[in-house]
Subunit: 304 residues, 2 copies
Protein backbone atom coordinates (compact mmCIF):
# COMPACT_ATOMS: atom_id res chain seq x y z
CA UNK A 1 0.00 0.00 0.00
CA UNK A 2 1.15 3.54 -0.71
CA UNK A 3 2.09 5.67 2.29
CA UNK A 4 -0.74 7.47 4.11
CA UNK A 5 0.34 8.51 7.58
CA UNK A 6 -0.74 11.07 10.12
CA UNK A 7 1.94 12.65 12.31
CA UNK A 8 0.51 14.38 15.36
CA UNK A 9 2.89 17.20 16.30
CA UNK A 10 0.60 18.71 18.94
CA UNK A 11 -2.86 17.94 20.29
CA UNK A 12 -3.40 20.21 23.29
CA UNK A 13 -5.98 22.96 23.65
CA UNK A 14 -5.62 26.70 24.26
CA UNK A 15 -2.89 26.46 26.92
CA UNK A 16 0.22 24.73 25.62
CA UNK A 17 2.33 22.95 28.22
CA UNK A 18 5.77 21.37 28.09
CA UNK A 19 3.93 18.05 27.57
CA UNK A 20 1.48 19.09 24.90
CA UNK A 21 1.67 21.72 22.16
CA UNK A 22 -1.37 23.32 20.56
CA UNK A 23 -2.87 21.79 17.41
CA UNK A 24 -0.62 20.73 14.58
CA UNK A 25 -0.33 17.68 12.35
CA UNK A 26 1.45 16.57 9.21
CA UNK A 27 -0.32 14.23 6.78
CA UNK A 28 2.13 12.22 4.69
CA UNK A 29 0.63 10.88 1.47
CA UNK A 30 3.25 9.16 -0.68
CA UNK A 31 5.96 11.49 0.70
CA UNK A 32 3.99 14.60 -0.11
CA UNK A 33 3.40 16.42 3.19
CA UNK A 34 0.37 18.51 4.14
CA UNK A 35 0.21 20.45 7.39
CA UNK A 36 -2.96 20.84 9.42
CA UNK A 37 -2.85 23.87 11.76
CA UNK A 38 0.40 25.29 13.03
CA UNK A 39 0.60 25.95 16.77
CA UNK A 40 3.56 27.53 18.55
CA UNK A 41 6.43 25.05 18.62
CA UNK A 42 5.36 23.31 15.39
CA UNK A 43 8.69 23.86 13.62
CA UNK A 44 10.60 22.23 16.48
CA UNK A 45 8.15 19.29 16.61
CA UNK A 46 8.36 18.96 12.81
CA UNK A 47 12.16 18.67 13.05
CA UNK A 48 11.84 16.15 15.86
CA UNK A 49 9.52 13.99 13.72
CA UNK A 50 12.30 13.71 11.09
CA UNK A 51 9.87 14.57 8.30
CA UNK A 52 11.43 16.65 5.55
CA UNK A 53 10.56 20.37 5.48
CA UNK A 54 11.12 20.41 1.74
CA UNK A 55 8.32 17.91 1.09
CA UNK A 56 5.66 20.23 2.53
CA UNK A 57 3.13 21.11 -0.17
CA UNK A 58 0.52 23.17 1.65
CA UNK A 59 -0.75 24.25 5.05
CA UNK A 60 -4.44 24.06 5.94
CA UNK A 61 -5.58 26.16 8.90
CA UNK A 62 -8.90 25.41 10.56
CA UNK A 63 -9.41 28.78 12.24
CA UNK A 64 -7.52 31.81 13.49
CA UNK A 65 -7.18 31.06 17.19
CA UNK A 66 -3.68 31.32 18.62
CA UNK A 67 -3.35 27.67 19.61
CA UNK A 68 -3.76 26.74 15.93
CA UNK A 69 -1.63 29.40 14.21
CA UNK A 70 1.05 30.88 16.49
CA UNK A 71 3.75 28.69 14.96
CA UNK A 72 3.12 29.83 11.40
CA UNK A 73 5.50 32.80 11.25
CA UNK A 74 8.35 30.82 12.80
CA UNK A 75 7.91 27.99 10.33
CA UNK A 76 7.71 30.28 7.30
CA UNK A 77 10.73 32.22 8.47
CA UNK A 78 12.76 29.04 8.98
CA UNK A 79 11.86 27.79 5.49
CA UNK A 80 13.25 31.07 4.15
CA UNK A 81 16.50 30.72 6.12
CA UNK A 82 16.89 27.18 4.83
CA UNK A 83 16.61 28.41 1.26
CA UNK A 84 13.26 26.98 0.23
CA UNK A 85 12.38 28.04 -3.30
CA UNK A 86 9.20 26.03 -3.92
CA UNK A 87 6.12 28.18 -3.39
CA UNK A 88 3.93 27.38 -0.40
CA UNK A 89 0.16 27.62 -0.36
CA UNK A 90 -1.63 28.35 2.90
CA UNK A 91 -5.38 27.91 3.21
CA UNK A 92 -7.46 29.38 6.01
CA UNK A 93 -10.61 31.29 6.83
CA UNK A 94 -11.51 34.96 6.35
CA UNK A 95 -8.96 37.39 7.84
CA UNK A 96 -6.03 35.13 6.97
CA UNK A 97 -4.56 37.79 4.71
CA UNK A 98 -5.34 40.76 6.92
CA UNK A 99 -3.75 39.09 9.94
CA UNK A 100 -0.74 37.36 8.39
CA UNK A 101 0.28 39.24 5.24
CA UNK A 102 1.76 42.24 7.14
CA UNK A 103 3.70 39.88 9.43
CA UNK A 104 4.99 37.84 6.49
CA UNK A 105 6.01 41.05 4.73
CA UNK A 106 7.86 42.21 7.85
CA UNK A 107 9.56 39.04 9.02
CA UNK A 108 10.06 37.12 5.77
CA UNK A 109 11.19 39.95 3.48
CA UNK A 110 14.26 38.09 2.30
CA UNK A 111 12.54 34.70 1.90
CA UNK A 112 13.55 33.17 -1.44
CA UNK A 113 10.15 31.52 -1.96
CA UNK A 114 6.59 32.72 -2.52
CA UNK A 115 3.97 32.36 0.20
CA UNK A 116 0.44 32.38 -1.15
CA UNK A 117 -2.46 32.88 1.24
CA UNK A 118 -5.88 31.56 0.24
CA UNK A 119 -8.94 32.66 2.17
CA UNK A 120 -11.57 29.97 1.95
CA UNK A 121 -15.30 29.76 2.59
CA UNK A 122 -15.62 27.62 5.73
CA UNK A 123 -19.38 27.06 5.56
CA UNK A 124 -19.83 25.14 2.30
CA UNK A 125 -17.99 21.88 1.78
CA UNK A 126 -15.84 22.17 -1.33
CA UNK A 127 -12.63 20.83 -2.81
CA UNK A 128 -9.65 23.11 -2.24
CA UNK A 129 -6.76 20.90 -3.30
CA UNK A 130 -6.34 18.05 -5.71
CA UNK A 131 -3.39 16.21 -7.22
CA UNK A 132 -2.75 12.77 -8.72
CA UNK A 133 -3.28 10.97 -5.46
CA UNK A 134 -5.48 12.99 -3.12
CA UNK A 135 -8.46 15.31 -2.90
CA UNK A 136 -8.84 17.70 0.04
CA UNK A 137 -12.31 18.97 0.90
CA UNK A 138 -13.44 21.42 3.57
CA UNK A 139 -15.74 20.31 6.39
CA UNK A 140 -17.88 23.08 7.91
CA UNK A 141 -17.56 23.22 11.70
CA UNK A 142 -19.29 25.22 14.42
CA UNK A 143 -17.00 27.34 16.55
CA UNK A 144 -16.81 30.87 17.97
CA UNK A 145 -15.05 32.09 14.81
CA UNK A 146 -15.18 30.89 11.18
CA UNK A 147 -13.79 27.37 11.21
CA UNK A 148 -13.62 24.28 9.04
CA UNK A 149 -12.07 20.84 9.16
CA UNK A 150 -10.43 19.03 6.25
CA UNK A 151 -11.11 15.68 4.62
CA UNK A 152 -8.28 13.93 2.77
CA UNK A 153 -9.54 11.30 0.31
CA UNK A 154 -7.15 9.10 -1.57
CA UNK A 155 -7.93 8.72 -5.26
CA UNK A 156 -8.64 5.14 -6.36
CA UNK A 157 -5.47 3.34 -7.36
CA UNK A 158 -5.27 0.96 -10.39
CA UNK A 159 -5.82 -2.78 -10.05
CA UNK A 160 -2.74 -4.88 -9.28
CA UNK A 161 -1.25 -6.80 -12.22
CA UNK A 162 -0.75 -10.55 -11.78
CA UNK A 163 2.69 -10.91 -13.35
CA UNK A 164 2.36 -14.68 -13.72
CA UNK A 165 -0.77 -14.34 -15.86
CA UNK A 166 0.71 -11.51 -17.95
CA UNK A 167 3.66 -13.80 -18.73
CA UNK A 168 1.41 -16.77 -19.36
CA UNK A 169 -0.69 -14.91 -21.96
CA UNK A 170 2.36 -13.06 -23.39
CA UNK A 171 0.69 -9.66 -22.99
CA UNK A 172 2.93 -6.86 -24.34
CA UNK A 173 4.05 -4.10 -21.93
CA UNK A 174 2.27 -1.43 -24.00
CA UNK A 175 -1.08 -2.89 -22.88
CA UNK A 176 -0.36 -3.14 -19.17
CA UNK A 177 -1.90 0.24 -18.28
CA UNK A 178 -5.17 -0.70 -19.93
CA UNK A 179 -5.24 -3.95 -18.02
CA UNK A 180 -4.49 -2.11 -14.75
CA UNK A 181 -7.42 0.18 -15.58
CA UNK A 182 -9.73 -2.85 -15.78
CA UNK A 183 -9.83 -3.82 -19.48
CA UNK A 184 -10.00 -7.44 -20.62
CA UNK A 185 -7.39 -8.96 -22.99
CA UNK A 186 -8.22 -10.29 -26.41
CA UNK A 187 -5.83 -12.91 -27.74
CA UNK A 188 -4.76 -13.27 -31.38
CA UNK A 189 -7.35 -16.08 -31.83
CA UNK A 190 -10.15 -13.83 -30.48
CA UNK A 191 -10.36 -15.48 -27.06
CA UNK A 192 -11.20 -12.94 -24.36
CA UNK A 193 -9.35 -13.22 -21.07
CA UNK A 194 -11.44 -11.42 -18.42
CA UNK A 195 -9.63 -8.74 -16.43
CA UNK A 196 -10.16 -10.44 -13.08
CA UNK A 197 -7.97 -13.31 -14.23
CA UNK A 198 -5.14 -10.86 -14.99
CA UNK A 199 -5.38 -8.56 -11.96
CA UNK A 200 -6.28 -8.44 -8.29
CA UNK A 201 -8.46 -5.64 -6.83
CA UNK A 202 -6.88 -2.24 -6.10
CA UNK A 203 -5.99 -1.19 -2.56
CA UNK A 204 -9.02 0.09 -0.68
CA UNK A 205 -9.38 3.88 -0.83
CA UNK A 206 -8.47 5.49 2.48
CA UNK A 207 -9.55 8.80 3.96
CA UNK A 208 -8.69 10.99 6.92
CA UNK A 209 -10.80 13.74 8.49
CA UNK A 210 -9.43 16.45 10.80
CA UNK A 211 -12.21 18.13 12.76
CA UNK A 212 -11.19 20.72 15.34
CA UNK A 213 -12.42 22.99 16.94
CA UNK A 214 -16.15 22.44 16.92
CA UNK A 215 -19.29 22.25 18.98
CA UNK A 216 -21.33 19.06 18.61
CA UNK A 217 -22.51 19.20 15.01
CA UNK A 218 -24.50 16.09 14.00
CA UNK A 219 -24.74 16.93 10.24
CA UNK A 220 -20.95 16.64 10.10
CA UNK A 221 -21.36 12.84 10.18
CA UNK A 222 -23.02 12.93 6.73
CA UNK A 223 -19.82 14.29 5.22
CA UNK A 224 -17.69 11.65 6.93
CA UNK A 225 -19.46 8.45 5.88
CA UNK A 226 -17.10 5.47 6.06
CA UNK A 227 -14.04 7.60 6.82
CA UNK A 228 -10.99 5.45 7.57
CA UNK A 229 -9.76 7.61 10.41
CA UNK A 230 -11.45 10.54 12.13
CA UNK A 231 -9.54 13.00 14.33
CA UNK A 232 -12.14 15.00 16.24
CA UNK A 233 -11.71 17.37 19.13
CA UNK A 234 -12.91 16.20 22.55
CA UNK A 235 -12.00 19.15 24.71
CA UNK A 236 -14.20 18.15 27.64
CA UNK A 237 -15.75 15.22 29.45
CA UNK A 238 -19.53 14.86 29.62
CA UNK A 239 -19.36 16.37 33.11
CA UNK A 240 -18.39 19.70 31.50
CA UNK A 241 -21.07 19.53 28.77
CA UNK A 242 -22.39 23.00 29.61
CA UNK A 243 -18.93 24.49 29.36
CA UNK A 244 -18.46 22.69 26.04
CA UNK A 245 -21.68 24.20 24.75
CA UNK A 246 -20.75 27.66 25.95
CA UNK A 247 -17.27 27.60 24.39
CA UNK A 248 -18.36 25.76 21.21
CA UNK A 249 -16.37 22.65 21.91
CA UNK A 250 -17.34 18.96 22.09
CA UNK A 251 -17.45 16.38 24.85
CA UNK A 252 -15.91 12.95 24.35
CA UNK A 253 -19.40 11.41 24.18
CA UNK A 254 -20.53 13.82 21.46
CA UNK A 255 -17.34 13.14 19.50
CA UNK A 256 -17.97 9.40 19.69
CA UNK A 257 -21.55 9.91 18.51
CA UNK A 258 -20.22 11.63 15.39
CA UNK A 259 -17.80 8.74 14.73
CA UNK A 260 -20.60 6.21 15.22
CA UNK A 261 -23.05 8.02 12.92
CA UNK A 262 -20.29 8.37 10.29
CA UNK A 263 -19.43 4.64 10.49
CA UNK A 264 -15.82 5.71 10.91
CA UNK A 265 -13.31 2.88 11.13
CA UNK A 266 -11.25 4.58 13.82
CA UNK A 267 -11.57 7.65 16.06
CA UNK A 268 -8.73 9.70 17.51
CA UNK A 269 -9.60 12.11 20.30
CA UNK A 270 -7.62 15.35 20.56
CA UNK A 271 -7.57 19.00 21.69
CA UNK A 272 -7.76 18.09 25.36
CA UNK A 273 -8.43 20.81 27.90
CA UNK A 274 -5.35 21.32 30.07
CA UNK A 275 -7.60 21.00 33.14
CA UNK A 276 -7.41 17.19 32.97
CA UNK A 277 -4.40 15.59 34.67
CA UNK A 278 -5.07 12.47 32.61
CA UNK A 279 -7.18 11.97 29.48
CA UNK A 280 -8.21 8.40 30.37
CA UNK A 281 -11.74 9.47 31.44
CA UNK A 282 -12.19 11.09 28.00
CA UNK A 283 -11.14 7.84 26.35
CA UNK A 284 -13.41 5.67 28.50
CA UNK A 285 -16.34 7.99 27.88
CA UNK A 286 -15.89 7.85 24.10
CA UNK A 287 -15.30 4.08 24.01
CA UNK A 288 -18.70 3.47 25.58
CA UNK A 289 -20.23 4.85 22.37
CA UNK A 290 -17.49 4.06 19.84
CA UNK A 291 -15.10 1.31 20.94
CA UNK A 292 -12.35 1.79 18.34
CA UNK A 293 -11.16 5.07 19.86
CA UNK A 294 -7.65 6.13 20.85
CA UNK A 295 -6.17 9.24 22.47
CA UNK A 296 -3.95 11.50 20.41
CA UNK A 297 -0.49 12.16 21.79
CA UNK A 298 2.24 14.58 20.72
CA UNK A 299 4.74 12.75 18.53
CA UNK A 300 2.30 9.93 17.62
CA UNK A 301 2.24 8.48 14.10
CA UNK A 302 -0.88 6.79 12.72
CA UNK A 303 -0.47 4.54 9.69
CA UNK A 304 -3.69 4.21 7.69
CA UNK B 1 22.04 38.23 49.61
CA UNK B 2 18.82 39.13 47.88
CA UNK B 3 17.87 37.01 44.87
CA UNK B 4 19.39 37.98 41.50
CA UNK B 5 19.18 35.08 39.05
CA UNK B 6 19.25 34.67 35.30
CA UNK B 7 17.13 31.89 33.78
CA UNK B 8 18.13 31.07 30.24
CA UNK B 9 15.04 29.77 28.45
CA UNK B 10 16.64 29.72 25.01
CA UNK B 11 20.03 30.63 23.57
CA UNK B 12 20.03 29.47 19.95
CA UNK B 13 20.27 31.61 16.84
CA UNK B 14 17.93 32.04 13.88
CA UNK B 15 17.09 28.36 13.42
CA UNK B 16 15.48 26.89 16.54
CA UNK B 17 16.00 23.17 17.02
CA UNK B 18 14.48 20.66 19.44
CA UNK B 19 17.66 21.16 21.53
CA UNK B 20 17.83 24.96 21.50
CA UNK B 21 15.12 27.61 21.28
CA UNK B 22 15.74 31.12 20.01
CA UNK B 23 16.66 33.89 22.46
CA UNK B 24 14.74 34.25 25.69
CA UNK B 25 15.66 34.78 29.34
CA UNK B 26 13.99 35.64 32.61
CA UNK B 27 15.85 37.80 35.14
CA UNK B 28 14.63 37.20 38.69
CA UNK B 29 15.41 40.08 41.06
CA UNK B 30 13.88 39.51 44.48
CA UNK B 31 10.99 37.51 42.90
CA UNK B 32 10.20 40.27 40.42
CA UNK B 33 10.63 38.77 36.96
CA UNK B 34 11.81 40.56 33.82
CA UNK B 35 11.85 38.89 30.43
CA UNK B 36 14.55 39.48 27.84
CA UNK B 37 13.41 38.62 24.31
CA UNK B 38 10.67 36.11 23.63
CA UNK B 39 11.41 33.46 21.01
CA UNK B 40 8.97 30.82 19.83
CA UNK B 41 8.49 28.26 22.61
CA UNK B 42 9.21 30.74 25.41
CA UNK B 43 5.91 30.14 27.20
CA UNK B 44 6.55 26.39 27.36
CA UNK B 45 10.14 26.93 28.58
CA UNK B 46 8.88 29.47 31.14
CA UNK B 47 6.46 26.86 32.54
CA UNK B 48 9.20 24.25 32.60
CA UNK B 49 11.43 26.59 34.63
CA UNK B 50 8.75 26.71 37.35
CA UNK B 51 8.96 30.50 37.53
CA UNK B 52 5.62 32.17 38.17
CA UNK B 53 3.92 33.86 35.20
CA UNK B 54 2.21 36.26 37.58
CA UNK B 55 5.51 37.72 38.82
CA UNK B 56 6.45 38.99 35.37
CA UNK B 57 6.76 42.79 35.42
CA UNK B 58 7.97 43.70 31.96
CA UNK B 59 9.37 42.32 28.72
CA UNK B 60 12.42 43.89 27.05
CA UNK B 61 12.94 43.07 23.37
CA UNK B 62 16.33 43.68 21.79
CA UNK B 63 15.18 43.77 18.16
CA UNK B 64 12.42 42.61 15.88
CA UNK B 65 13.91 39.48 14.34
CA UNK B 66 11.77 36.36 14.52
CA UNK B 67 14.14 34.34 16.72
CA UNK B 68 13.73 37.00 19.43
CA UNK B 69 9.99 37.74 19.24
CA UNK B 70 7.97 34.86 17.74
CA UNK B 71 6.87 33.66 21.19
CA UNK B 72 5.39 36.98 22.24
CA UNK B 73 1.83 36.51 20.99
CA UNK B 74 1.55 33.04 22.50
CA UNK B 75 2.78 34.26 25.87
CA UNK B 76 0.44 37.27 25.92
CA UNK B 77 -2.49 35.13 24.87
CA UNK B 78 -1.77 32.56 27.58
CA UNK B 79 -1.59 35.28 30.25
CA UNK B 80 -5.06 36.38 29.13
CA UNK B 81 -6.46 32.84 29.34
CA UNK B 82 -4.99 32.47 32.82
CA UNK B 83 -6.80 35.62 33.94
CA UNK B 84 -3.89 38.01 34.42
CA UNK B 85 -5.14 41.45 35.45
CA UNK B 86 -1.85 43.25 36.15
CA UNK B 87 -0.82 45.40 33.21
CA UNK B 88 2.26 44.34 31.28
CA UNK B 89 4.80 46.70 29.76
CA UNK B 90 6.73 45.65 26.69
CA UNK B 91 9.77 47.61 25.53
CA UNK B 92 11.29 47.30 22.09
CA UNK B 93 12.62 49.22 19.11
CA UNK B 94 10.83 51.22 16.42
CA UNK B 95 8.03 49.28 14.64
CA UNK B 96 7.06 47.44 17.83
CA UNK B 97 3.59 48.97 17.74
CA UNK B 98 3.08 48.73 14.00
CA UNK B 99 4.03 45.06 13.98
CA UNK B 100 2.43 43.81 17.18
CA UNK B 101 -0.54 46.03 18.04
CA UNK B 102 -2.77 44.63 15.24
CA UNK B 103 -1.90 41.06 16.28
CA UNK B 104 -2.57 41.80 19.94
CA UNK B 105 -5.88 43.41 19.01
CA UNK B 106 -6.82 40.35 16.95
CA UNK B 107 -5.66 37.50 19.16
CA UNK B 108 -5.96 38.98 22.66
CA UNK B 109 -9.29 40.80 22.34
CA UNK B 110 -10.73 39.20 25.46
CA UNK B 111 -7.57 39.55 27.57
CA UNK B 112 -8.50 40.90 31.00
CA UNK B 113 -5.24 42.89 31.33
CA UNK B 114 -3.66 45.84 29.56
CA UNK B 115 -0.64 45.36 27.31
CA UNK B 116 1.40 48.53 26.87
CA UNK B 117 3.94 48.72 24.09
CA UNK B 118 6.84 51.17 24.46
CA UNK B 119 8.99 51.98 21.45
CA UNK B 120 12.44 52.97 22.63
CA UNK B 121 15.42 54.72 21.11
CA UNK B 122 18.05 52.00 20.71
CA UNK B 123 21.00 54.26 19.91
CA UNK B 124 21.37 56.37 23.08
CA UNK B 125 21.91 54.61 26.40
CA UNK B 126 19.13 55.64 28.78
CA UNK B 127 17.17 54.34 31.75
CA UNK B 128 13.87 52.78 30.77
CA UNK B 129 12.82 51.09 34.00
CA UNK B 130 13.44 51.74 37.68
CA UNK B 131 11.98 50.46 40.92
CA UNK B 132 13.12 50.16 44.53
CA UNK B 133 15.73 47.56 43.73
CA UNK B 134 16.84 47.81 40.13
CA UNK B 135 17.60 50.18 37.26
CA UNK B 136 17.40 48.98 33.65
CA UNK B 137 19.38 50.88 31.01
CA UNK B 138 19.60 50.36 27.27
CA UNK B 139 22.88 49.39 25.60
CA UNK B 140 23.19 50.43 21.95
CA UNK B 141 24.20 47.53 19.71
CA UNK B 142 25.12 47.20 16.04
CA UNK B 143 22.93 44.87 14.03
CA UNK B 144 21.12 44.77 10.70
CA UNK B 145 18.03 46.36 12.28
CA UNK B 146 17.63 48.74 15.27
CA UNK B 147 18.81 46.79 18.29
CA UNK B 148 19.85 47.35 21.89
CA UNK B 149 20.92 45.28 24.86
CA UNK B 150 19.86 45.84 28.46
CA UNK B 151 21.84 46.45 31.63
CA UNK B 152 20.28 45.51 34.99
CA UNK B 153 21.94 47.30 37.91
CA UNK B 154 20.96 46.54 41.46
CA UNK B 155 20.48 49.58 43.65
CA UNK B 156 22.81 49.73 46.68
CA UNK B 157 21.33 47.95 49.67
CA UNK B 158 21.58 49.31 53.27
CA UNK B 159 24.41 48.28 55.63
CA UNK B 160 23.76 45.19 57.75
CA UNK B 161 22.85 45.82 61.39
CA UNK B 162 24.95 44.07 64.07
CA UNK B 163 22.15 42.99 66.39
CA UNK B 164 24.56 42.30 69.28
CA UNK B 165 25.83 45.90 69.22
CA UNK B 166 22.33 47.37 68.90
CA UNK B 167 21.33 45.42 72.02
CA UNK B 168 24.53 46.38 73.84
CA UNK B 169 23.99 50.14 73.30
CA UNK B 170 20.20 49.87 73.84
CA UNK B 171 19.47 51.65 70.54
CA UNK B 172 15.67 52.07 70.03
CA UNK B 173 14.02 50.50 66.97
CA UNK B 174 12.97 53.91 65.63
CA UNK B 175 16.64 54.70 64.90
CA UNK B 176 17.56 51.49 63.13
CA UNK B 177 16.89 52.79 59.60
CA UNK B 178 19.24 55.74 60.15
CA UNK B 179 21.94 53.40 61.36
CA UNK B 180 21.43 51.12 58.35
CA UNK B 181 21.80 54.21 56.18
CA UNK B 182 25.22 54.87 57.74
CA UNK B 183 24.62 57.33 60.59
CA UNK B 184 26.56 57.16 63.86
CA UNK B 185 24.78 56.81 67.21
CA UNK B 186 25.00 59.43 69.95
CA UNK B 187 24.43 58.11 73.46
CA UNK B 188 22.62 60.03 76.25
CA UNK B 189 26.03 61.09 77.68
CA UNK B 190 27.10 62.51 74.32
CA UNK B 191 29.47 59.66 73.43
CA UNK B 192 29.45 58.98 69.70
CA UNK B 193 29.47 55.34 68.58
CA UNK B 194 30.76 55.23 64.98
CA UNK B 195 28.53 53.48 62.48
CA UNK B 196 31.12 50.85 61.53
CA UNK B 197 30.94 49.48 65.08
CA UNK B 198 27.14 49.01 64.67
CA UNK B 199 26.98 47.65 61.13
CA UNK B 200 28.80 45.58 58.56
CA UNK B 201 29.14 46.70 54.91
CA UNK B 202 26.20 46.24 52.53
CA UNK B 203 26.15 43.44 49.98
CA UNK B 204 28.13 44.33 46.86
CA UNK B 205 26.02 45.81 44.08
CA UNK B 206 25.52 43.34 41.24
CA UNK B 207 24.76 43.90 37.58
CA UNK B 208 23.82 41.88 34.52
CA UNK B 209 24.15 42.85 30.87
CA UNK B 210 22.31 41.15 28.00
CA UNK B 211 23.92 41.93 24.64
CA UNK B 212 22.49 40.20 21.57
CA UNK B 213 22.51 40.47 18.55
CA UNK B 214 25.48 42.62 17.67
CA UNK B 215 28.54 42.99 15.51
CA UNK B 216 31.82 43.56 17.36
CA UNK B 217 31.33 46.96 18.97
CA UNK B 218 34.31 47.99 21.14
CA UNK B 219 32.66 51.12 22.68
CA UNK B 220 30.11 48.79 24.29
CA UNK B 221 32.77 47.86 26.87
CA UNK B 222 32.70 51.43 28.27
CA UNK B 223 29.07 50.96 29.28
CA UNK B 224 29.77 47.61 30.92
CA UNK B 225 32.65 48.50 33.26
CA UNK B 226 32.87 46.03 36.14
CA UNK B 227 29.66 44.23 35.19
CA UNK B 228 29.08 41.17 37.36
CA UNK B 229 27.86 38.99 34.55
CA UNK B 230 27.84 39.64 30.82
CA UNK B 231 25.75 37.61 28.38
CA UNK B 232 27.00 38.41 24.89
CA UNK B 233 26.24 36.76 21.59
CA UNK B 234 28.99 34.65 20.01
CA UNK B 235 27.27 33.40 16.91
CA UNK B 236 30.44 32.32 15.12
CA UNK B 237 33.98 31.07 15.66
CA UNK B 238 36.92 33.16 14.50
CA UNK B 239 37.07 30.98 11.40
CA UNK B 240 33.78 32.54 10.27
CA UNK B 241 34.83 36.12 11.07
CA UNK B 242 33.90 37.38 7.60
CA UNK B 243 30.45 35.86 7.85
CA UNK B 244 30.09 37.46 11.30
CA UNK B 245 30.99 40.84 9.84
CA UNK B 246 28.61 40.41 6.92
CA UNK B 247 25.66 39.39 9.11
CA UNK B 248 26.46 41.84 11.93
CA UNK B 249 27.22 39.16 14.50
CA UNK B 250 30.24 38.53 16.75
CA UNK B 251 32.87 35.82 16.95
CA UNK B 252 33.73 34.21 20.27
CA UNK B 253 37.09 36.02 20.28
CA UNK B 254 35.46 39.41 19.76
CA UNK B 255 32.96 38.68 22.52
CA UNK B 256 35.77 37.80 24.91
CA UNK B 257 37.58 41.04 23.99
CA UNK B 258 34.49 42.99 25.05
CA UNK B 259 34.34 41.11 28.37
CA UNK B 260 38.04 41.74 28.97
CA UNK B 261 37.87 45.46 28.15
CA UNK B 262 34.81 45.77 30.40
CA UNK B 263 36.55 43.98 33.29
CA UNK B 264 33.48 41.79 33.52
CA UNK B 265 33.53 39.22 36.33
CA UNK B 266 31.95 36.49 34.20
CA UNK B 267 31.06 35.99 30.55
CA UNK B 268 28.28 33.80 29.17
CA UNK B 269 28.36 33.03 25.47
CA UNK B 270 25.07 32.58 23.64
CA UNK B 271 23.18 32.82 20.33
CA UNK B 272 25.13 29.99 18.75
CA UNK B 273 24.81 29.38 15.06
CA UNK B 274 23.06 26.04 14.46
CA UNK B 275 25.91 25.10 12.09
CA UNK B 276 28.06 23.96 15.03
CA UNK B 277 27.50 20.40 16.21
CA UNK B 278 29.20 21.36 19.48
CA UNK B 279 29.93 24.79 20.97
CA UNK B 280 33.16 23.70 22.69
CA UNK B 281 35.38 25.42 20.06
CA UNK B 282 33.51 28.70 20.76
CA UNK B 283 34.19 28.28 24.47
CA UNK B 284 37.89 27.47 23.98
CA UNK B 285 38.31 30.42 21.65
CA UNK B 286 36.77 32.85 24.15
CA UNK B 287 38.65 31.43 27.14
CA UNK B 288 41.97 32.20 25.49
CA UNK B 289 41.09 35.88 25.84
CA UNK B 290 38.78 35.83 28.86
CA UNK B 291 39.14 32.70 31.03
CA UNK B 292 36.01 33.04 33.18
CA UNK B 293 33.68 32.19 30.32
CA UNK B 294 30.88 29.63 30.16
CA UNK B 295 28.48 28.46 27.46
CA UNK B 296 24.81 29.27 27.81
CA UNK B 297 22.43 26.34 27.70
CA UNK B 298 18.64 26.16 27.51
CA UNK B 299 17.25 25.68 31.02
CA UNK B 300 20.39 26.99 32.76
CA UNK B 301 20.10 29.15 35.88
CA UNK B 302 22.90 31.58 36.84
CA UNK B 303 22.92 32.85 40.43
CA UNK B 304 24.72 36.21 40.75
Amino acid sequence: MEKFEINILGCGAALPTPRRLGSSQVVNIREKLFMLDCAEGTQMAFRKSRLSFSHLQAIFLTHLHGDHVFGLLGLLSTFGLLGRIQELHIYGPKDLQRVFQPQIDYFCTDAPYRIILHEIDTQTPHTIYEDRSVIVTTLPLTHRVPCCGYLFQEKPTPRHIRRDMIDYYHIPIAHINNIKAGMDWTQADGTIIPNDRLTTPPDPVRSYAYCTDTAYRPPLADLLQDVTCLYHEATFTHEHALLAKKTHHSTATQTAEIAKAAHAHQLILGHFSSRYKTEVPLLQEAQQVFPNTILAEDGMKIVL
